[in-house]
Symmetry: C2
Subunit: 326 residues, 2 copies
Amino acid sequence: MMRKTNEGCRKLTLGQTARFLKNHNNYVILTHASPDGDTLGSAYALYYALNEIGKVAEVICPDVIPKKYDYFARKTDHIENENPTIIAVDVADSRLLGALEEEFGGKVDLCIDHHISNTKYAKNLYLDDDAAACAECIFELIGKMRVNLNDITAKAIYTGLATDTGCFKYSTVTKKTLLICAALYDYNINAAEINRLMFDTKSKKLIELESMVLNSAEFHFDDRCMVLTVTDEMQYKTGCSGTDLEGIAVISRSVEGVIAGVTLKQTGDDEFKVSLRTYSPLDASEICKTLGGGGHKGAAGASVKGDLATVKAKVLDAVKRNLDAI
Amino acid sequence: MMRKTNEGCRKLTLGQTARFLKNHNNYVILTHASPDGDTLGSAYALYYALNEIGKVAEVICPDVIPKKYDYFARKTDHIENENPTIIAVDVADSRLLGALEEEFGGKVDLCIDHHISNTKYAKNLYLDDDAAACAECIFELIGKMRVNLNDITAKAIYTGLATDTGCFKYSTVTKKTLLICAALYDYNINAAEINRLMFDTKSKKLIELESMVLNSAEFHFDDRCMVLTVTDEMQYKTGCSGTDLEGIAVISRSVEGVIAGVTLKQTGDDEFKVSLRTYSPLDASEICKTLGGGGHKGAAGASVKGDLATVKAKVLDAVKRNLDAI
């Protein structure tokens, strides 16, 4: 299978995208794999809006949709049409379609996205890289199409906005994000309940894992570096894996004075995934490059072979050299 | 000293409050004890606004202002005037003035507040109990006075809004809250950095305490009840006390399926403070009443004598009786 490259990807304006959606009739709406609140909120808000104007649509997610999204992510119709129009929302790269890439990767008619890194794999692309969430684009599209919002559509959009911004905490939030959010409050969205589900509810096994991980905490170099460890044994004992572990790296950088937060996650008998979170002037991607990895200035990673002691020593050595240089 | 009661407390409209502020000249602005982002943000925003129109003002806080508020809470002038006008912001009861109650408790000329429980201790009261934060009232007052905002005033107001709403997470947030927040984005407030300081920065000792407390976690009654324990020893070992412990009770109710989150905090050799957080249909105040305490439906407390095992058994018994009844 060939991945669609960026030649021939047509960039659409908001108005053109709204017309595109009005001019077709049968839609398959795809989310990215390991779905989050933004890809799901965007897909379902678009689904409900298209329904509202009599279009037939189906949402397809490459993975099982977590139960916590049940309040808006209902089962959609199955499209019988053999040539539906394929839309991908919040999917920056066709590879992120996961299990659906093979079937749909080269056939996406319209991608609606907010990632500056979008690989232009779709035939048509509406991209607003100033949007804090893809759901912001969907809200504007629905407005442009002059389709009315309703409670469930507003809930889906709110979920996208809130989850992609850490509840309006991050630097991606703009005045427009907040004005859209204010407009959603005209509907019965019960934002506090959504936020409780999205931000303040952990599984029992995750609490158990966090307890073990915090027990493993080590501080180095005058408490400027914190190291957390997630061993195979911890994952096995608690039953946590994959997306359960996503929040751990965030803890590593949440301590006052720490500018290098290291998480060592065992991925094999003799291998660890290193996640590094840094604050200026430390550059996480520089440090991880010396470990054979890469990433961004504030968050980077690498895969390092060795037992825990060896890997930890390697990482601490790399961090120390960069700390000494500042 | 007599505490001022509610007879003779005059309720002001927004316009009357704006005129009051324009008609006086020397102000002492008081915050409540154990200051938080809302009382400080409100006090300083009002201070900067009064400065802007040539008034002399001083902010006085009953306790030391935590360093993390340095970005707006600068040292203010000392008022030499012998009869300044006394304003209290976000102070629902004169007792909350703490160390300043004796000096100022009966002399507050104007209280600006958003707590429905305000005891009307001040001579004049501007109360908007629909406001999610006192800073919301201050924003509207500044607008009514036709005083321009600037970056630091906007930062102070943003801090009040964000901290009193868990970063726009709670049910107290309204459309108006979000529109005010959007207006603040016209200034250089660097909201993401404020939020990092307010929400994502913990002290090393708190991380250590949380680790110990999570280790103590027990689940009962088909995992519908979680019990966390904070012993004297944990507090002594980590150096955590008082406000450090505020976040612990929140953890007790953050686990999926838990509808009764119990925190047992040792307050003496043979005494524990019980904090109970519940979800409907459990009623925390009902349960705590049977333990000699009280509170609200979702959060209540009691002080119970006995060693850990005895107190825990008493609390679990009370919880069980209420769980059995639902």
